[in-house]
Symmetry: C3
Subunit: 137 residues, 3 copies
Amino acid sequence: MTEKLQKTAITPATHTAPPAKFSHGVKKGNILQVAGQVGFGPAVPGQAPAPVGPTLREQTLQTLSNVQSVLEAGEASWEDVVMIRVYLTDTGHFAEFNEIYNEFFADLKEAPAARTTIYVGLPAGLLVEIDALAVLG
Amino acid sequence: MTEKLQKTAITPATHTAPPAKFSHGVKKGNILQVAGQVGFGPAVPGQAPAPVGPTLREQTLQTLSNVQSVLEAGEASWEDVVMIRVYLTDTGHFAEFNEIYNEFFADLKEAPAARTTIYVGLPAGLLVEIDALAVLG
Amino acid sequence: MTEKLQKTAITPATHTAPPAKFSHGVKKGNILQVAGQVGFGPAVPGQAPAPVGPTLREQTLQTLSNVQSVLEAGEASWEDVVMIRVYLTDTGHFAEFNEIYNEFFADLKEAPAARTTIYVGLPAGLLVEIDALAVLG
């Protein structure tokens, strides 16, 4: 009853250390929060992280894969995700993004997550960022 | 104890199908997440969704009504909402938005939700988007 | 079992009343949501809220302090926070912001929260806004 819930940082092996004192993901109780992920390729020791490619498709698939790595390292899956926030830099990317997103989630069994698509600035070279909230159990 | 929580998509009758594989709202355990809603009028078969009017007032009231439809379809109400994210396109809209918001929530009985107002881009013709997180029970 | 969860508004003594019908923070069940905080100094009766200083450092430290006041008024701490959303107005502020953030969280005992850094517009004079989600218990 009065058991203290543990908060756990989630760091997939594929990920570089975050550039500041935050976690790629964190789990407490039945809540798992994935931090904003971008299209960086798998971590290479001694190299700064860099996006996998210049296209929206390449960056989106890598970003989704990075979110998934955090979910899996936290023993969760897309089936547990209730909210996905997508940050795009250009409203003109919406249609193409949705196409890639639909392909990626074609085999989802449970109800798809809610989503908000937000048009913001991102650091140079990045076209998309995604974070996610999962409820486990 | 080890009962698997069900994730349920929420689709109000007033809503058109989302333009991609996401839900207007989703419920799992005691968490209900409403996806970003905009000022689209009630769904008309065979017609693309369109905002109800050009003014901030029309779009805001319709957007709030759309969030409410998702809450109600999930057997929740504004009284359950703990966070509202408001996306505006213009910092100059803040004062008028707050006026409309205050009128809308004048009869709220429980504590009002926390809120973040975020100034972003939105697709052409849209002035406001809102998403919401509710804790049920 | 069927006990109704209470939703409670959180208003630290240091804070001015929100400019609309929302709460600086709200708690329901084991979820505590902190509304978007900015670098306003402690409330002074009869004066409009104003940011503490023009620099990113001053505003960031005050903003973090304001989030912390809400957490503490809700009997929570940074150790309970699972997600921090940081809103900056300039991607060029990222490195300096992270430096300040790291200093601030140097003594954190539990895993640091997940984070998303979002580049948006803010009202004139404001350089940073932060909101936070905590899971208590």
